[in-house]
């Protein structure tokens, strides 16, 4: 309880809206570049590293709910739980000190991606018949053609796309936090995740 109160400082509360806006802006940038990625959880991962797993969870869930409220992506709310889990896992990994070694951090990204695929497959299989209206639909078609069920095909698509997406996201977060001055990072409750020195 005490740890939670220390994580949700004013700086954290200010950071969360910024992080959500980052999620949305970067996500749309990637769509504009026509890359086969989403990169719509960079802000969530940033918060998770700097303010702990619970703050990451809150950011992820809120991000998707707000995405729906703005009318930009009406179905984002259905995947709020997935976004929350991504934030939670990123925060836990960072708390175990995985952020300080690049290869461990990238491994954390891949693991998070696998879990994200596992959780989101039933949602998109049930809601959309597995089709997201994106470039990755051909993957679903491919798996269906090999005789997989809707559920298996959707999971197949996720397991190809999500770990790669989270790997790149985690890498970008790592690069960003390395580029920020320590004086700035010092403001956040979990600065030791980045700098390595416990308070």
């Amino acid at each position: 309880m005490d740890r939670i109160r220390r994580d949700f400082t004013t700086v954290t509360l200010v950071m969360i809206p910024v992080a959500i806006a980052i999620n949305i802006a970067v996500g749309q940038l990637v769509v504009a570049l026509k890359l086969p990625l989403y990169l719509d959880s960079i802000g969530t991962i940033l918060v998770a590293v700097l303010a702990g797993p619970l703050a990451g969870l809150v950011t992820g869930v809120l991000a998707n709910l707000i995405w729906t409220l703005t009318g930009l992506a009406p179905f984002a709310a259905a995947f709020a739980i997935v976004a929350g889990i991504i934030g939670l896992m990123a925060g836990l990994f960072a708390g175990w000190g995985w952020f300080r070694r690049l290869w461990l951090w990238l491994l954390a990204g891949v693991l998070t991606g696998i879990v994200a695929a596992l959780v989101s497959a039933p949602i998109s299989a049930y809601l959309f018949g597995g089709v997201m209206g994106s470039g990755q639909d051909f993957l679903v078609a491919f798996f269906r053609a090999t005789g997989a069920s809707v559920m298996q095909a959707t999971f197949g698509q996720g397991i190809v796309a999500d770990p790669l997406d989270k790997l790149v996201s985690f890498l970008l977060v790592w690069l960003t936090l390395r580029a920020l001055p320590k004086r700035f990072l010092q403001r956040f409750p979990r600065v030791e995740n980045v700098t390595g020195r416990p308070e």
Partner: protein
């Protein structure tokens, strides 16, 4: 406010019948035209691939017609139609919500029901930040293109454009955080106790009764589905 709670219901209900409810409600709220147009734009990119993928790759059952080496399956068509109906219904509800409900009102109502006031800040600020960030992303894109950054071409070339585009956006927005935190602290953001609001809510008796009715209906539907699922 009313609509927000109303949409707890249709999720479990039959997709099409409630879809017929959304349009009359939208007409009453005078957003039918924009709602239908946006919904059409959203559903179409889902509908076509769903039809093609599920129709052609179902792999078993009755064949409706054959196109070269591909056969179109009846079961696939039914599955696709059900998915599309569900998407349209869900999309319609969400759109109706976002088109008819003022976010500040919704959040005010939630705070009155016991949500911490910091949550109010989170949501309202985010909604103000998003358009600003989108504008900034555009500015960065233009600026980097002026300097000769290629944002089109092969996959590898487009991937290379990622860091020069995202980097400035992330760094600039993060540096902003500290300043905002100081400004909020100076205005008593973390103090305890109730606050007064500029927004006042009107909640009529009719709205309260309808809300209770919808809650009961939602719970009943969930129980009904659970029961049907268990005894199947």
């Amino acid at each position: 406010m009313l609509l927000a709670l109303a949409f707890a219901v249709p999720w479990w209900a039959c997709a099409l019948t409630l879809f017929l409810l959304v349009f009359p409600l939208a007409a009453v709220a005078q957003v039918l035209g924009p709602l239908a147009r946006t919904l059409w734009k959203i559903v179409l990119p889902f509908a076509i691939p769903i039809l093609l993928i599920q129709g052609f790759f179902w792999g078993e059952g009755q064949v409706l017609f054959t196109l070269g080496p591909l056969s179109f399956y009846r079961a696939g068509l039914i599955f696709a139609a059900a998915s599309i109906a569900r998407i349209a219904m869900l999309g319609g509800c969400f759109l109706l919500l976002s088109m008819t409900t003022r976010v500040d009102m919704l959040m005010r109502a939630l705070v009155e029901r016991g949500l911490p006031s910091q949550a109010l800040y989170l949501v309202v600020t985010t909604l103000q930040l998003v358009p600003r960030f989108q504008a900034q992303a555009h500015r960065i894109q233009d600026a980097q293109r002026t300097r000769g950054l290629e944002t089109e071409g092969t996959l590898w070339r487009r991937a290379q454009a990622l860091v020069p585009l995202i980097g400035p956006l992330l760094l600039a927005s993060l540096m902003d955080v500290e300043e905002r935190a100081l400004a909020l602290e100076a205005r008593g953001f973390s103090r305890r106790g109730p606050r007064s609001s500029l927004v006042t809510l009107h909640d009529s008796a009719g709205q309260r009764w309808l809300r209770r009715f919808l809650w009961t209906l939602a719970v009943a539907l969930i129980l009904f589905r659970l029961f049907a699922w268990v005894t199947r």
